[in-house]
């Protein structure tokens, strides 16, 4: 009785929470964590659709693996950047990084 749309709905809600987290927090690491939530939601999507629509072909799972790989790379680089900025500004609040202001 739990069908595809339940899984997709779960993914959507996770995604929405992740989107909210990007805007609601000012700590850079927190924002990275919200982005990870979004990526996980996408993964759920991939695997669920793969299972329900085309169970014989595991391409969806493959893509989920790639997403995880990229997420890992992105997190490491992102955190390295944050540490680097912290050295300069002694802060990780996004509101302090306003060099792009007019």
């Amino acid at each position: 009785m739990i069908g595809l749309n339940h899984y997709l709905l779960l993914a959507t809600i996770l995604f929405g929470i992740g989107v909210y987290g990007v805007f609601a927090k000012r700590n850079a690491v927190a924002i990275l964590m919200s982005i990870e939530l979004m990526l996980n939601a996408v993964n759920i999507n991939f695997v669920a659709i793969n299972k329900f629509i085309q169970p014989g072909n595991t391409v969806g799972q493959l893509f989920a693996i790639f997403v995880i790989v990229v997420a890992a790379a992105e997190v490491s680089v992102g955190l390295a950047l944050i540490i680097s900025i912290y050295r300069q500004k002694k802060s990780v609040n996004l509101s302090d990084f306003n060099l792009m202001k007019w």
Partner: protein
């Protein structure tokens, strides 16, 4: 002699060639220019006489036409060509005769003038244009020459361009004519659109069976605008009195005999259109009649000799137009011919007087000129008698035929009006004569008679004024009417009582003028004071010029001011507003860049959300 008609196209061309030669080559030689110009118009005169002989020895309906296609566009075909029929032949004779005599006269009048050569150049180009107008075979061609004569009129009125009054008069003439020509052109275009052709013959055939009044009436009225402007009918009459600023021979030729007659000629030519539209004819008759009495009343109190003659011309043109309107097209053309002769005579004689009085034009400063200038005086008197309509001079026959047409056609109101105008005409002409030539004032004693080169044309014109009327009289069985007629024109049997009444009226007018101005039994001064209100209005020409100036100020200047406001406030405002808006939006929008990454991410996600929702809605709408 079929060949004479074949080469009749030379008649307008010769004066044009003379103009070109004078303009390009001969302008340094005054005598050469004059000689060439007179030679050209003389040759045209001889050719016109030959053409007339050929035409009048044939039968009245015969028409000679030859043309070639000049402009060929989809929807617009204009030919250039010659059309010779009795109407054209009459006009050719009139124009070439008067033009030749005026040019000979000008040898004496314009002697010593620095612009002598260019004067004859202008005279030639005018003659060429007028002749071209007269032989035109279609409305397009007549319009071209119509405008050309207008241009020549401008050049000749403003000939002494050092004078401000002359410059202004020339502009006034041209602009007023423009108003008339605008309507005329609209009428022509209308004709082109509805009937597809502008040729007189073809149009006559097409219109004869056409009975859609809603189309013909506007065409007729618009076409009538042309004569209203060119022949100076009310309300476009204002330019003619001011046109007296030009040299007197010019006034004689253009503003008495030929150019102003072009309008009447056009009505005669286009009579096949007008006769189909009775309302248009009524309008024409009304305008003509009103102009006649309007101008005559103003002439009663003018003091400048040329102005009196100018208003007289206006009045007589009104007569001609009125004649056309009541259907008496023959009478109108007849009066055009006789008027050309005696009015040009009057003007040339007046020019002789002005010349002798060293450019004095006020009749109260002249007097007893008869003692020193007999030829001028007596030719002037003959001209005045002809104008007043005393039998057996030419004017009597033509004016009488118009009055006959009014009475017998049932237009009693116009008959009474015409008779009243005849009385006034006689009165003001002899007011002029008694004051300037006879009368108690002795100031004319130092004048002397003009040279033969000036008096000979006077004598010739006086002779014509005497005999030219006979071709339309019952004595010759109205041979004029035999040839000059059109479908829709009316003819009436001669009525002796009308003739007697009109002659008596003219004599009464002369008698009254004699009483007041010669014998001074009734004092002019006391009359002036008793009717001072009317006198003031008449003297100021019914204040028409002032009214037009005021209208111009209100509408033209007012319109200009409105447009200026519009341009400054609205158009400039729009452009400046656009610039201001750009700046303001820039000013305001820069706050969108606050340097916060999350704000930028917000814009991004908002865009994604909107796109998504839109796409989903589209898909769902399509599915549902």
């Amino acid at each position: 002699m079929q060949n004479i008609l074949q080469i009749s196209w030379i008649i307008p061309v010769l004066p044009f060639l003379a103009f070109a030669c004078i303009g390009l080559i001969l302008h340094r030689s005054p005598k050469g220019s004059a000689a060439l110009s007179i030679l050209a118009i003389g040759a045209s005169f001889i050719l016109s006489v030959l053409v007339a002989i050929k035409v009048f020895s044939g039968n009245p309906g015969q028409v000679f036409e030859m043309s070639f296609r000049w402009l060929n566009m989809p929807g617009l075909n204009v030919d250039m060509g010659i059309l010779i029929d009795p109407l054209t032949a009459v006009m050719l004779i009139v124009v070439t005769t008067v033009a030749l005599l005026v040019q000979i006269y000008s040898l004496g009048y314009m002697k010593g003038d620095p612009g002598f050569a260019s004067y004859f150049a202008y005279q030639s180009v005018f003659a060429g244009s007028m002749l071209g107008l007269v032989v035109a075979s279609n409305f397009g061609q007549i319009f071209v020459f119509w405008e050309l004569v207008g241009m020549c009129s401008y050049l000749l009125i403003g000939f002494w361009f050092g004078r401000n009054s002359a410059k202004n008069a020339a502009i006034k003439a041209f602009v007023t004519n423009r108003v008339g020509d605008f309507g005329f052109l609209l009428g022509i275009l209308f004709l082109m659109i509805v009937f597809g052709t502008l040729n007189y013959g073809e149009l006559a055939v097409k219109i004869a069976g056409y009975d859609n009044m809603a189309v013909l009436l506007p065409i007729a009225i618009l076409l009538f605008f042309g004569p209203m402007g060119k022949s100076a009918q009310f309300p476009l009459h204002v330019w003619l009195p001011d046109a007296m600023e030009g040299p007197t021979p010019v006034s004689a030729l253009i503003h008495a005999a030929t150019m102003v007659a072009a309008g009447v000629y056009l009505i005669a030519r286009a009579f096949f259109i007008f006769s189909q539209v009775p309302q248009a004819l009524i309008l024409i008759a009304a305008v003509g009649g009103f102009t006649a009495i309007f101008a005559a009343s103003i002439a009663l109190v003018q003091n400048d000799i040329k102005r009196i003659l100018a208003y007289s011309t206006l009045s007589q043109l009104g007569y001609m137009v009125m004649a056309m309107g009541i259907g008496a097209m023959t009478a109108g053309m007849f009066h055009l011919m006789t008027h050309a002769f005696f009015k040009s005579l009057l003007f040339l004689a007046a020019g002789s007087v002005i010349h002798a009085m060293h450019d004095e034009q006020n009749i109260w400063k002249m007097g007893q000129l008869s003692k020193k200038m007999p030829v001028t005086t007596w030719t002037f008197v003959i001209g005045a008698l002809a104008l007043a309509g005393i039998p057996p001079l030419a004017g009597f026959w033509s004016k009488d035929e118009i009055l006959l047409g009014a009475y017998a056609g049932g237009y009693i109101g116009l008959y009474v009006l015409g008779s009243l105008v005849a009385f006034m005409t006689a009165f003001y002409m002899f007011r002029l004569i008694f004051t300037a030539f006879f009368g108690p004032n002795k100031e004319g004693h130092h004048a002397h008679e003009s040279s033969p080169v000036m008096t000979t044309p006077l004598i010739i014109l006086a002779l014509l004024s005497i005999v030219a009327g006979f071709v339309g009289s019952p004595f010759m069985n109205n041979i004029f009417g035999h040839f000059i007629t059109a479908p829709g024109a009316v003819h009436h049997e001669a009525n002796v009582s009308i003739m007697v009444i009109s002659s008596l009226l003219a004599l009464a007018g002369i008698f009254l003028a004699w009483l007041i101005y010669q014998k001074e039994i009734i004092s002019a001064e006391s009359l002036r004071q008793r009717f001072s209100g009317i006198y003031k209005v008449l003297y100021h020409k019914f204040y028409i010029d002032e009214i037009y100036a005021w209208l111009g100020k209100v509408f033209v200047d007012g319109g200009a001011r409105l447009l200026e406001w519009f341009d400054l406030k609205i158009i400039n405002g729009a452009v400046n507003g656009l610039a201001f808006f750009t700046g303001w939006s820039g000013h305001t929008l820069r706050y969108a860049e606050d340097g916060q990454v999350q704000t930028y991410a917000l814009y991004l996600f908002a865009g994604v959300a909107i796109l998504l929702i839109t796409a989903l809605c589209a898909v769902f709408a399509a599915v549902v």
